[in-house]
Amino acid sequence: MAKWLVALIVMLSGVALVGGCQKQSAAPATQAASSAGSGKIQIVFIPKNMGNSYFDLIGTGFKQAASEYQADFTTVAPASDSDPAGQIAFIKDQIQRGVQVIAVIPNSTTALIPVLKQAMDKGITVITLDADLTGNEQYRSAGVWPADADEIGASQVEALGSLMNYSGKFAILSATTEAPNQNAWIKAMKLALQGSKYQNMQLVDIVYGDDKAEKCQTESEALLNKYPDLKGILSPTTVGIVGAARVVQDAGKSGQIVVTGLGLPSLMRGFVKDGVVKKFQFWNGFNQGYLAGQVACQLANKSLHPAAGVTFKAGILGDRTFRDKNVVIADKPADFTADNIDKYNF
């Protein structure tokens, strides 16, 4: 016991010594954060997790915008998005590396707040994209959203209506009851449904699959059993739409029940080829990443001062205008069908 304690003390003082000696040389690194503008802009993109083809597409767009400003662009992320605090270590490392911009797809609206505050205190610009710090927007300089909620709601309802001849019963398969973007989109869908064009369409149920493959399938099966005359399932989540399509396919009801929503072409290709899903929607992640890259670089070189109503040039995307809470919209939902799905690989 005593020997081990001695060893521990020797070791700790060794670390202290090494650290103490190196402290001076580490100082310039932290200064780099505050002296943005001199030299290359360093940007790091932190998605929720690695190995997600949609986040990769966002990264491709981001990188292109960054290269237009000769900025240094890096992507780091946790292996899995299950731990809401998993991104914290990655953000801490980047603060230590003294980057100018941290662009994060936050995995939690709250758990990252303390570390993002530290980053901002060090003079680092923080932006969010794809997801936002709903309720805590003051802890980032700007938020890049994939598409406008009202527009998503309206175009999803139109996509569903066009497939079910604007009449019959349908249900919504959402992610979780608390997901802010899902709830905003469902609200917009209900608003759009009040239009006279959709008066014969009846929303009979909203169920939640928690974005888990298995639960999405059970919930879809339950819908089929509960409403024998169901004509459609609208699932504005990439996991949900796959679950619904699989259940409808397995039940042999692909002609009777329409499945649509928001999906990724890579996951939907099989269902589209089989005719289970005739049409679904998504936006272009490339544009979102590109816009985030433009915002990041322009914030870093201090040419952009975000505020509601401020318009700026976003490279190949043209002009963009900040909304309330410094939100800027990247894209519109687009239709994917058998005709165009092969052009996309995200």
Partner: protein
């Protein structure tokens, strides 16, 4: 059952009586703890070489310990559990459920935060006690029971608050990692070190510690020699639960928020630290010192790789290989240790 391979001070008074001083030192160097210590030095050196500009910053290394101190504290109690020949897979789920209960106590029922801080470890201990009673009374394997409570505790946490994020804890409570002792050591690190010393004393100097080694080496033999194995098990799982509860309070303070998914999957990191620190997964052998060293080793190399921008999947692969390498080496050393003794 695993062969007994007592290490210096690990097996208590039995080992250190007859051997010569020279044999003592040789066994010390051939022990898992010494290897873990060498790996830690190698990790620090490697980190320094990988990114000299950012890694060798004492304040950063100190600060970054706060990222894993909750897991580290759970690893201390897990050392007890594993030495006694058991395992507790529910520690991280316990943390999440306790954090949710604490959050609800304060935010919904208005219980003062000061009281909640005390309640946290108690709630965790009760959840741990539940594990212990199931295992001891019904003579069920700890693996089975705690796989069950792993799902149960996290499930309950999710049932209670869904995917909501509880917020609104008092300012004085938030930000435990921003508080420093002597202006240098983050408070979570100090709490961990104090607990580590306390645990080392219990494990290596108390009757409970001796019972744990005896049970882990051969439970029925321990029973015959008068160890009340059931009572010891209940106690050790309650301690593990209490430490998870403390981790819950610390993590809530650090993040300023509670979600049902807190510390998801962290039980594996906890067990990794314990085993990397030289504790035999089958029980009967291990030290708190080893766990402490392995905890810092894992934390340090993860920061070294993070600063060097290594992708997360490579980081996982490195930690995994490190564990396998270490465990194989420990087995070999145990054999060498036996030859040195004879």
């Amino acid at each position: 059952m695993t062969p007994m391979h007592p290490s210096p001070d690990a097996a208590g008074p039995a080992a250190s009586s007859a051997s010569s001083a020279r044999g003592d030192w040789r066994r010390l160097l051939a022990s898992p703890e010494a290897v873990a210590l060498l790996l830690l030095v190698a990790g620090i050196t490697g980190g320094g070489l990988l990114s000299p500009k950012y890694f060798l910053d004492f304040h950063y290394l100190m600060d970054s310990t706060s990222l894993y101190m909750e897991a580290a504290i759970m690893a201390l109690a897990m050392t007890f559990v594993i030495i006694s020949g058991n395992i507790d897979l529910s520690v991280a789920a316990n943390l999440a459920l306790t954090a949710v209960l604490c959050g609800e106590l304060h935010l919904r029922f208005g219980v003062p935060m000061g009281l909640v801080i005390v309640a946290g470890p108690c709630i965790g201990a009760v959840l741990g006690l539940f594990n212990g009673l199931l295992i001891a009374r019904l003579r069920l394997p700890s693996l089975t029971v705690t796989i069950g409570t792993l799902a149960l505790y996290r499930g309950l946490a999710q049932v209670m608050i869904g995917d909501a994020a509880l917020q609104g804890f008092p300012d004085w409570f938030n930000g435990i990692d921003q508080r420093y002792v002597a202006g240098l050591l983050p408070l979570p690190l100090v709490i961990f070190l104090v607990l580590a010393v306390a645990c080392a004393l219990v494990l290596h100097r108390s009757l409970l510690g001796r019972f744990l080694y005896a049970m882990g080496t051969n439970e029925s033999a321990a029973r015959y020699s008068g160890v009340r194995a059931g009572v010891v098990k209940v106690a050790v799982f309650a301690i593990a639960g209490g430490f998870s509860g403390l981790g819950a309070v610390m993590m809530t303070s650090r993040l300023g928020t509670v979600q049902y998914s807190l510390a998801d999957g962290q039980e594996l990191a906890v067990i990794t630290a314990v085993v990397l620190g030289g504790t035999d997964i089958f029980g009967g052998r291990g030290t708190i010192f080893g766990t402490v060293v392995a905890t810092f080793l894992l934390g340090i190399i993860s920061r070294a790789m993070g600063l060097a921008l290594w992708p997360a999947e490579n980081q996982l692969a490195v930690s995994g290989s490190l564990l396998i390498f270490a465990v194989v080496l420990y087995r070999l050393l145990a054999k060498i240790g036996t030859t040195i003794r004879t």
